[in-house]
């Protein structure tokens, strides 16, 4: 098993005719993902890499039974694109777009409250269930099917961690990049709850970074309710306060969001925190009883 996406996933790519959308449609198809449809308003009737393009997500669902969306729409319209996907009833919405205004995300978060959609991102690499499907922009070949779940606020840092896991002989059930923005659709706890009930997932790697308090909240949840082994890493131990470190959400403000607070909360909850990124694979291997 895996969570949220698998071999039954039928992706609709929103913004499929753009440069990024077209490129990653090809990459997803190469990985074996079923890209059932694309959407670009005004470009309905065209094809991209053999994938039919529609004017609305609603049509893509009706005609091609798409059930997961992957959004590459530019920031000014990305919030609207998320709401369109939710209105069309898609169960999982992955938003790759970076740079959405925060007030747009406030509206999106409010809009999604009474919908049955799970939003991953924005500003994220997406989600992959190795060997089954990839919905996003991560390099496919570094992943291997197995029992480790990965939940991360970052992109390339996730690839680094997955690569180390694979090299250490630890394959992955599902890897999720939850996004680097201050307001994201789902956070660590949302996915930990799913991994808890996923029999294939034997352990979790949680990759956090400075900014906000979601790692602290995850630590509390894990301490109370999560039995599988968790290995954590927090980026930004050397980040200065008050500066945004690339990601819009990666900022220490008013004593909140420091790496040390997060590491302490995680360790207090009995979670192994790898302080040294280079050794994370080995640490995971030890915890999972592989070496």
């Amino acid at each position: 098993m895996s969570i949220l996406v698998d071999e039954n996933t039928r992706v609709v790519v929103q913004g499929i005719t753009g440069r990024e959308g077209a490129f990653h449609t090809k990459q997803m198809l190469n990985y074996g993902t079923v890209v059932a449809a694309g959407v670009t308003p005004g470009k309905g009737g065209k094809q991209v890499k053999g994938v039919p393009v529609f004017n609305t997500v609603y049509e893509a669902v009706e005609k091609e039974s798409a059930n997961v969306s992957c959004i590459f729409v530019p920031p000014p319209s990305a919030g609207d694109a998320i709401m369109e996907a939710a209105s069309a009833g898609l169960g999982v919405i992955v938003c790759i777009t970076e740079g959405i205004p925060i007030l747009d995300m406030v509206k999106v978060a409010s809009f999604l409250k009474d919908k049955n959609s799970v939003l991953i991102g924005p500003n994220c690499p997406g989600i992959i269930s190795p060997g089954k499907t990839k919905v996003g922009i991560m390099p496919g070949p570094i992943h291997k099917p197995g029992g480790m779940a990965v939940i991360s606020r970052s992109g390339t840092l996730t690839y680094e961690v997955v690569d180390q896991l694979t090299r250490a002989g630890l394959g992955q059930s599902t890897c999720i990049g939850i996004g680097g923005d201050p307001i994201i659709g789902t956070t660590f706890i949302d996915h930990l709850k799913r991994f808890k009930d996923d029999p294939e997932t034997k352990g979790v790697v949680l990759i956090g970074e400075i900014g906000g308090t979601t790692e602290e909240e995850a630590a509390e949840y894990i301490r109370k309710e999560f039995d599988k082994p968790v290995i954590a890493f927090i980026a930004g131990q050397t980040a200065p306060p008050g500066r945004r470190m690339g990601h819009a959400g990666a900022i220490i403000s008013g004593g909140e969001g420091k790496a040390e607070n997060k590491i302490k909360a995680l360790e207090d909850a009995g979670i192994t925190v790898a302080l040294d990124l280079g050794s994370l694979g080995k640490t995971a291997s030890k915890i999972m009883g592989k070496s």
Binding site: E20, F23, P75, P76, G99, I100, P101, I102, L103, M105, V106, K107, A109, S110, P125, I137, M138, P139, I142, S152, R153, S154, G155, T156, L157, T158, Y159, E160, D163, G180, P182, I183, I207, E209, I210, G212, T213, T214, E217, F233, A235, G236, Q237, T238, A239, P240, G242, R243, M245, G246, A248, G249, A250, G254, G255, L275, D276, L277, G278, S279
Partner: protein, 391 residues
């Protein structure tokens, strides 16, 4: 994007919130004229820099005679002001705001920002105004009152009542009406200008019952600047580091830090983690540089050029996990930069991911001198070795 106090007060004033009468000056000659127009004594002379902590840093002065206004202005203009937020070198003061002194009876705190945990705007109100709100939160959290705002409904009058009727001692009915009006105006500014913060601290009640925004801070959401173009004229880049400005021009995410090991990385998370690796190896990172998940050869070249312009650099690490950014593109970008400016410090290269072999091949076949790290653990060791050599 941060606005200066005088810019923020201009916005408040236009929205119907009373601010002190004041005038911006850039020379002490102007101060001589301004003091004749602005009501006083006393006068307030306030350095206009983006960093907070100006009061304690000596950036806000009170003058009781016109000549003091001029000398105070002179003492601030053109000189670096050091506050707890500026770093040890301080920030040069280019502009000074001269204002009428306000006869304050009580001070309050009022702000709107985004609460990340609820994904909603939140109005924060406190009777402990004029102080650092984080200190108030730590010492007397009961004095901090909050109302979350439903983005669909907007700010409602009952929410304002919830806040003002909790004041102890209670405010006068006329003052309550004024608070309610200011709160509605502050939320409207927050919404229409795509702010990430609108803060009035202190929001003062004067002895004659007026309500005045004595100091204010406004920050605009950078992601929304595409639809707030008229605010772009408020941008003051003079306080920015010159290398950071250059990076902005090429859309590179670069932050200058205090150390001497330069780093070029793709992706913000990996860039932060690489800074941490440098620190754990016993050195200090000189910068954060994320060339981006899908950087072009030119962006890589510009990124490395910026690092090479930093005179403090003793070693450089390039840490790339190729995904969309291919390692061969990275390698060509590095060589292009090395051609323009010779690299005189040890260069540690760690490449992984898409087209890693082609990337390494390109570097090996060039006359560039570099050290190869096959993984992050090796990279850390190489950094430690180079740093101990340099010392």
């Amino acid at each position: 994007m941060k606005l200066h106090e005088f810019q923020a007060k201009d916005i408040l004033g236009k929205a119907g919130i009373t601010v002190p009468n004041g005038q911006l000056v850039t020379t002490s000659d102007q101060a001589t004229t301004v003091v004749q127009i602005i009501k006083g004594p006393p006068w307030m002379i306030k350095a206009q820099i983006h960093a907070g902590g100006r009061g304690k840093g000596g950036g806000i002065k009170v003058a009781h005679y016109p000549y003091e206004v001029v000398t105070a202005t002179e003492s601030l203009l053109g000189k670096p002001l050091v506050t707890r937020q500026t770093g040890p070198d301080g920030v040069v003061v280019n502009q000074v705001l001269i204002e009428e002194g306000i006869d304050i009876d009580r001070e309050y705190y009022l702000s709107v920002s985004i609460d990340r945990s609820t994904a909603e705007p939140v109005m924060i109100f406190s009777q402990a105004g004029g102080m650092d709100i984080e200190e108030v939160a730590a010492q007397s959290p009961a004095l901090i009152l909050k109302e979350h705002i439903d983005p669909v409904v907007g700010w409602m009058p009952h929410q304002a009542r919830n806040l003002v009727y909790k004041l102890d001692p209670p405010a006068q009915p006329a003052t309550i009406r004024k608070f309610i009006s200011v709160m509605a105006n502050v939320y409207r500014i927050f919404l229409t200008l795509d702010c990430s913060l609108v803060e009035i601290n202190p929001l003062a009640i004067t002895k004659d019952g007026r309500i005045i925004a004595v100091d204010t801070k406004i920050s605009i959401d950078d992601n929304a600047l595409f639809r707030q173009k008229e605010l772009l004229e408020f941008e003051d880049t003079r306080e920015k580091d010159s290398l950071e400005l250059m990076a902005d021009k090429y859309h590179l995410s670069y932050i200058r830090l205090k150390g001497n090991v330069g780093a070029m990385v793709n992706g913000a998370g990996l860039a932060m983690a690489t800074m941490d690796v440098i620190k754990m190896a016993g050195a200090e990172p000189a910068n954060f540089l994320d060339v981006g998940g899908g950087a072009s050869e030119e962006m890589v070249t510009k990124g490395l050029e910026i690092i090479l312009k930093d005179k403090r650099i003793k070693a450089i690490i390039i840490n790339i996990f190729g995904g969309i950014l291919r390692c061969d593109v990275l390698a060509r970008g590095v060589l292009a930069a090395a051609k323009k400016k010779s690299i005189r410090v040890p260069l540690i290269v760690r490449l992984e991911g898409t087209n890693v072999e082609e990337g390494k091949e390109i570097l090996r076949n060039s006359d560039l001198k570099f050290l190869v790290a096959n993984n992050l653990a090796e990279a850390a060791k190489l950094i430690a070795k180079q740093v101990s050599k340099a010392e």
